[in-house]
């Protein structure tokens, strides 16, 4: 184990968040984790063997016998004898006492120092916080082994003093963990409430704060314990320890000096160290898994559960889903073949228990060239899943179960992924919902805009740049040059959305799928983005499928509307006739809901002529 693993705090940030909710069940669940419980059992066995060493062997671990040097394993000596004729099994058992006690001492010192200072710094802050973070940096800049060597030169070869000093060096491992957790909950309501109701600081810390970090402390302790063993064994192995006591490191050292005469002498202490180390690591891993597991369910599962919940348990006033779609007929229907023709589409997520959660069911849509088609419905109605299906970008685990997606005559649900990659970006483009999280934070806007153009349009770097700058101007970015060299975090949400729109139309697609393009923006910005989309649509003649839950957006932009509820299309037709005469009760309830929510713009009821 490297001591850096602790100081890296790789464990700390994840754990400190949100553990409270699950801690009561943690112990119980840990006991059901087969790896964790096995590792714990092995550790308990090792500790028991150390405690009851005198019962397990009759030999004196330091009993030198010139007559019995280097005897192999056998009747008299379970694991044979070492270079001084001492019984190896006895030395290992008694060695466990010293080795484990030494590591325990280091862990306890580190824990007491780290937890106390972490609590004080986290809870009271002020100058103590500054001072201790300084000391922490200082301690972490010191190479442990070198300090221990120097300490040994001063204090002499004592296992206990070395372990105490190592404990001090490892204190930051606990400090950082406790400090992060405590400063996180310091100002939470339940702590405030306790403070206001006159509970003493001491009791607040004990009752409300220590319980939060209890499990992570155990986890950290097991790692620190392992590192202390490794360092102690390392020093003893090099011959810098107290040679008069049988530690595992000294046994290893003796084995190493007799490596050529009896190679198996290295094996036994090596095995003891490896088994203990692996058991500690597995114990810590299992504990961490359970901690993270309880802190946050896996994202996919959460998303699927949320969707499923939304599909199955929509709010009560919503009328039941009808299996037929109400169609508002138009005079010139079926005049030309639609650009996008979705027929009987079903999308589902197979669950671990073998069932399939259907999030889209029997959806049919016709989108003609040059039209703006609104797909409207509340969250979880399956509209985004439908949009992703068209792009071939369903989240992992999701699949198209039935139906076809004909784009310009080709069934997208059947084309190979390489072909789909050509279609994406080039012929079908995508405008996401959340502008800030949809730009790669590590690359400039310019780089993200030009990369697709160079692939799709095969233009040179300078041509792509010229085109990108032109596009940025077109989408209303005031200083394209500056934005081109900016990073996403330097843009506002509205600017980022303009950049994403520029990116979507950069390769002259036939169809743009916009997934709630205004939802994450301020109301004033929303109107500007809608204006931009309309202008671009008229300028480029592009077809747009716009996913939204807002009738204001539909009123503002769309020629055609399809209303989606619980994974099905319940009503579809020209925006004007649907607005004039909503038939389906769900459509009507969506209209009623507008009154409660702030519209995209004032005149939402005014339908485009």
């Amino acid at each position: 184990m490297s001591e850096a693993a602790v100081s890296s705090g790789a464990l700390a940030p994840d754990i400190s968040s949100d553990i409270r909710a699950a801690r009561s069940h943690l112990a119980r669940r840990f006991l059901k984790n087969p790896i964790g419980i096995t590792a714990l059992a092995v550790l308990v066995l090792i500790v028991l063997a150390a405690i009851f060493a005198p019962l397990l062997t009759s030999y004196n671990p330091n009993g030198v016998s010139v007559l019995n040097i280097l005897q192999g394993p056998g009747a008299g000596h379970l694991l044979g004898t070492d270079g001084a004729g001492r019984d190896v099994w006895a030395r290992l058992l008694f060695g466990a006492r010293y080795t484990l006690a030494g590591a325990l001492l280091a862990t306890v010192v580190a824990a007491i120092l780290g937890i106390t200072s972490g609590l004080i710094a986290g809870y009271y802050g002020k100058w103590f916080e500054a001072a201790s973070s300084w000391v922490t940096t200082l301690l972490m800049a010191l190479p442990g082994i070198v300090v221990l060597l120097a300490a040994r030169a001063v204090l002499g070869p004592s296992l206990w003093s070395v372990m105490v000093i190592f404990g001090v060096l490892l204190a930051p491992a606990f400090y950082r963990l406790v400090y992060a957790a405590v400063s996180g909950v310091r100002n939470e309501l339940f702590v405030d409430a306790a403070r206001v109701s006159g509970v003493s600081d001491f009791r607040i810390i004990a009752r409300h704060i220590l319980t939060v970090v209890r499990a992570p402390i155990i986890l950290q302790a097991s790692i620190v314990f392992g590192i202390a063993i490794a360092v102690q064994v390392g020093l003893d192995f090099l011959g810098f320890g107290d040679q008069t006591i049988p530690t595992w490191g000294n046994i290893l050292n003796d084995g190493f000096t007799n490596l050529y005469r009896d190679p198996q002498l290295v094996i036994w202490p090596g095995l003891a160290i490896v088994i203990t180390g692996v058991a500690l690591t597995l114990f810590a891993n299992a504990l961490r898994d359970e901690l993270e597991h309880s802190a946050r369910p896996s994202r996919r599962r959460r998303a699927a559960v949320a969707t499923a919940a939304a599909v199955t348990a929509t709010a009560e006033p919503v009328p039941p889903v009808s299996s037929t779609t109400i169609v508002h007929e138009e005079p010139d229907t079926a005049a030309e073949a639609p650009l996008l023709h979705i027929e009987g589409l079903a999308v589902g997520y197979p669950q671990p228990d073998g069932s399939v959660t259907r999030v889209v069911d029997d959806v049919s849509l016709n989108i003609r060239r040059g039209e703006v088609h609104g797909l409207i419905g509340e969250s979880g109605s399956g509209k985004t899943q439908t949009a992703w299906s068209v792009l071939g970008l369903l989240p992992s685990g999701g699949e198209i179960l039935e139906g076809s997606i004909r784009f310009d005559g080709e069934d997208l649900s059947k084309v190979p992924s390489a072909k789909m990659q050509d279609i994406r970006g080039g012929r079908i483009a995508y405008i996401p919902q959340e502008p800030m999280s949809n730009l790669d934070p590590s690359f400039t806007i310019g780089s993200q805009l030009t990369e697709p153009m160079r692939i799709k349009l095969g233009v040179s770097k300078s041509e792509a740049k010229a085109k990108a700058l032109k596009l940025l101007g077109q989408v209303g970015i005031p200083s394209p040059e500056r934005t081109f060299t900016s990073y996403p975090h330097e843009l506002s949400g509205g600017m980022a959305q303009r950049v994403l729109i520029a990116g979507a139309v950069s390769c002259e697609p036939d169809l743009v799928i916009a997934d709630e393009p205004t939802t994450a923006l301020d109301v004033t910005i929303q109107a500007e983005i809608l204006d931009l989309l309309r202008d671009l649509q008229q300028e480029l003649g592009v077809t747009i499928l716009i996913v939204t839950h807002n009738f204001g957006v539909v009123a503002d932009l769309c020629d055609q509307v399809s209303v989606m509820q619980q994974g099905r299309i319940v009503e579809t037709g020209p925006a004007r006739s649907l607005f004039a005469d909503p038939q389906h009760p769900y459509t009507r309830s969506l209209f009623d809901a507008i009154l409660d929510e702030s519209p995209a713009r004032g005149a939402y009821a005014e339908v485009r002529p």
């Binding site: 184990m1 490297s2 001591e3 850096a4 693993a5 100081s7 890296s8 705090g9 790789a10 940096t137 200082l138 972490m140 800049a141 010191l142 190479p143 442990g144 082994i145 070198v146 060597l149 040994r152 030169a153 001063v154 490794a230 390392g234 192995f237 090099l238 810098f240 190493f256 490596l259 190679p263 160290i273 490896v274 180390g277 692996v278 690591t281 597995l282 994202r299 992703w388 792009l391 970008l393 990659q421 279609i423 994406r424 970006g425 080039g426 995508y430 996401p432 959340e434 949809n438 730009l439 934070p441 590590s442 690359f443 993200q448 990369e451 697709p452 692939i455 994403l500 990116g503 390769c507």
Partner: protein
Amino acid sequence: MLTFTVRRLLYGIVLLFVIVTLAYLLLYAAAGNVGRTILGPTATQATVALKNQQLGLNSPLISRYFSWLGHALTGNFGSSWFTNQPVTTAIITRLQVTLTLVLGAVIVSAVVSAGLGVWAALRGGWVDRVIQVFSVLGFAIPGFLIALFLVRIFALGLHWFKPTGYVPLTYYFGGWIRTVTLPVIALSIGLVAGVAQQVRSSVIDSLRQDWVRTLRSRGISERSVLFKHVLRNAGGPALSVLALSFVGLLGGAVIIEQIFGIPGLGQIAVLATSQGDVPLVMGLVVAIGVLVIVVNLAVDLLQGFLNPKARIS
């Protein structure tokens, strides 16, 4: 960015100053009768007194400290009490060796763990599980124990590599490779275990980000999404783990150098501390401190390169 760098540098220098001061005062306070330590128990009282006077140990500790500090700032750290070799020379020749090992381990670990981490994240299934098991073992088994087995198998058994000694790279490449390979592997394994885990989880995390979907929607190839975009974003956290391991790696090198009989800083550290050769120990403290500061600064700059947000803070 410049002010950030300068601030970090100043902070590092203050830190170094504190460490050096503490070390100096503690080491001399604990040094006892230096002349007696050097000359051994057989020397007469008079020669011991003379030795102490030659070493300037009769003046007060504080004035000795400031005189040492003044010389140190000009690069003069005095001479070893036992060999009379100038401390600067002793350390610089050995620093090269240790840096070869440590940097070699960092590079090997970075490459191997990036490969393993990405592989585990993408393939999942048995690949992921095998790499997880490897990580646990690499993390749990101390590096020197691995070194012992490596020596046993590849040096003593197969004779592919040298069990001990060191051949400088400038002297003979083949010899260099035969002497540094095993120590570098022994140093790297624990590091690879930790960093590969970090790469794995950062890659999995990055792949779930919204911008990955948007990149794909632009028709960017999977290869570019993964190796250009995801890996760059996953690089930051992995780099942090690697950087924090650097100090530990210096400590690990001490033990590894002992096992392989390599004349690096570790060997000098062992020798100087066991003899109580305070000028040499102080030189080591300064060398390691400077190294840690330089590495931290380099990592900060690299972090800024990888993560544009880090550049402004």
